[in-house]
């Protein structure tokens, strides 16, 4: 079901400002990869290049290759829209559509992919909400506004919305940073479950979180003041956190950074 991602020589720009440079990595299917690194080093930027969300910012552009199962997402004739349907995204701040009910929020992506019968949509909404561990909390109020849920519930609603369209890959940009520890644990457990169906990439500032959930970790850092961000080191998570090969990585994870 899910597929391998291969990035090679990727640069991303905001206008003339180069935010990340020469990023190459391979991400295996059905794994969780964590991106860590100091603020402003380009983790979000890189994440958004993976589903072509980077280019929606005026003046932003990307150079390099991102292969999903061998096919270049930036190749000629590839529609950004179809890329985003295969690679879902969960944002830092929960962003359910405020004008939609819980049900409509989860079904939102399905409506884009052609007509479906009511019962089929009902089924997918239920599976997705169950998949996001939210079903029991909302099953009696599916018609109520999604914005009326708690922050943690809203974030799980956004996860349900993202997985409802059955993407290959799920990108999560600090999905727990606005949540309390209990909601955070709920989402971490969820990621471990979702791993069997999706490839997951998560940006996090929480070292314990990266250590708990991820299989592999990439450490991003700026090459220097005013320079673009790069991947300093990428390895098995256990290695990154016990025996990193780069000094900068060790300084960062032990809190001796900058």
């Amino acid at each position: 079901m899910s597929q391998q991602i291969q990035v090679s020589g990727l640069d991303a720009y905001y206008g003339r400002h180069k935010a990340i440079e020469d990023i190459s990595m391979t991400i295996e299917p059905n794994t969780i990869t964590a991106f860590i690194g100091p603020s402003g080093c380009g983790k979000s930027t890189f994440l958004r290049t993976l589903n072509r969300m980077h280019e929606v910012i005026p003046g932003a552009r990307v150079e390099g290759k991102v292969l999903l199962d061998g096919e270049d997402l930036y190749g000629p004739g590839v529609e950004p829209v179809s890329v985003r349907r295969m690679i879902g995204m969960v944002f830092q701040r929960p962003n359910p559509f405020p004008t939609m009910s819980i049900y409509e929020n989860v079904a939102a992506g399905l409506r884009l992919n052609g007509r479906r019968s009511k019962s089929e949509v009902d089924g997918i909404v239920e599976t997705s909400l169950k998949g996001a561990n939210l079903w029991n909390e909302v099953k009696d109020r599916l018609g109520k506004p999604g914005a009326g849920l708690s922050g943690g519930q809203q974030q799980r609603l956004c996860i349900a919305r993202a997985i409802a369209v059955r993407p290959e890959v799920l990108l999560m940009d600090e999905p727990c940073s606005a949540l309390d520890p209990i909601s955070t644990l709920a989402i971490e457990d969820l990621m471990a479950e979702l791993k069997s169906q999706f490839t997951i990439i998560i940006v996090t500032h929480n070292m314990q979180q990266a250590a708990r959930v991820s299989d592999r970790t990439a450490f991003f850092n700026l090459a220097g003041q005013g320079q673009p961000g790069r991947v300093i080191e990428m390895d098995e998570t256990s290695r990154i956190f016990t025996n990193p090969s780069q000094k900068a990585t060790e300084d960062y994870i032990t809190g001796r950074f900058g």
């Binding site: 349907r85 405020p98 884009l112 506004p145």
Partner: protein
């Protein structure tokens, strides 16, 4: 009310700064309360004056004020009624709204979501400018250009779609309900477009990105995130436009043929409205005539009020889904 404020401030450990604050606050509170009361008093005085002026005329009326379709308040046996005028007011304004809103929303979406940034800036400025053009200018344009111009298209509609009552009738004229509504539509379009654009620009980036990340095309983003979020604002803008169209005087007074029929035929030489009738008849009005016109003005006021309440009701009905909380 003042007492509660004092106990709250008095209980505070920052007594000194609190008293300094309330020293500045008291005159302001009196000033703003006074202004509010004065405004209400003025409005009440105007209402009382109008009603007092209207009552003798209504007493003298030998016809039914709500049903009669003539306006003869100056006759020895005064007979006048609001029926045709109220109909014309609402009908022409609704036609204008039906024509203006889709175009205005389209223009607003183009400016907010499709046009390149520089073009959007220029267009936005032009729309704001058009919204500030005095209505008499639209009226003059309507009578000198649009009315003669509309003869051709009106005949075409009449010939090909005349079997629909809307386009039926015996005679087709340039100065018709259609032309008046078109002028009104052109007149209210900029204000609706300007407000809608503001609303569409306020849609949080996070909602648009949520739609994009699901694989929505630009149009789908608009349908999913922009239009639903902007809906209350667009409704308010439309109601503002409707209010302006119903209250519009000079532009339609120039075009309407000042008839007193209730007719859905939009191509025939007919049409009138409360405001146009006031403009046409005020000069020649006697005491009773003036009272009659004032009474019609009160009816216009009530209609406008009802429209606004209707809009508020529509907006409030889905408040919990409005996005105001997010």
């Amino acid at each position: 009310m003042a007492a509660t404020v004092h106990t709250r401030d008095g209980g505070s450990a920052l007594g000194r700064s609190a008293s300094r604050r309330s020293r500045g606050e008291t005159p302001f509170r009196y000033a703003s309360t006074g202004a509010g009361i004065l405004l209400l008093a003025i409005m009440a005085a105007i209402a009382v004056f109008l009603v007092v002026e209207a009552i003798p005329a209504l007493r003298a009326n030998t016809g039914g004020f709500f049903t009669t379709q003539t306006w003869e308040p100056n006759a020895t046996r005064p007979s006048f009624g609001i029926a045709a005028l109220a109909f014309g007011t609402v009908f022409s304004a609704l036609l204008a709204l039906i024509m203006a809103v889709p175009v205005a929303v389209g223009v607003a979406l183009f400016i907010s979501h499709y046009a390149p940034r520089r073009l959007a800036g220029v267009l936005g400025y032009v729309v704001d400018l058009l919204a500030a053009v005095p209505s008499v200018v639209y009226g003059l344009w309507g009578i000198t250009f649009l009315a003669p111009f509309m003869v051709g298209p009106s005949n075409f509609l009449h010939d090909h779609l005349g079997f629909i009552p809307l386009f039926g009738g015996d005679i087709v004229a340039g100065r018709s309900m259609l032309t008046a509504s078109l002028v009104l539509a052109v007149m209210i379009l900029p204000i609706i477009a300007a407000i809608s654009r503001e609303v569409f620009l306020q849609v949080p980036r996070a909602h648009e990105e949520a739609a994009l990340a699901l694989g929505a095309t630009r149009w789908e983003v608009i349908r999913m995130a922009v239009l639903p979020y902007g809906r209350p604002g667009v409704i308010s803008a439309a109601m503002l436009g409707l209010g302006r169209a119903m209250g519009e005087t000079i532009a339609v007074a120039l075009i309407f043929q000042a008839t007193f029929d209730i007719s859905f035929r939009i191509l025939t030489p007919q049409g009138n409205s409360i405001a146009a009738n006031i403009a046409n008849r005020f000069g020649e009005a006697t005491q009773t005539g003036r009272g009659a016109l004032i009474a019609s003005g009160l009816v216009l006021f009530v209609i406008t009020l009802l429209v606004n309440m209707g809009a508020r009701f529509i907006v409030a009905r889905r408040k919990e889904f409005s996005g105001a909380a997010a």
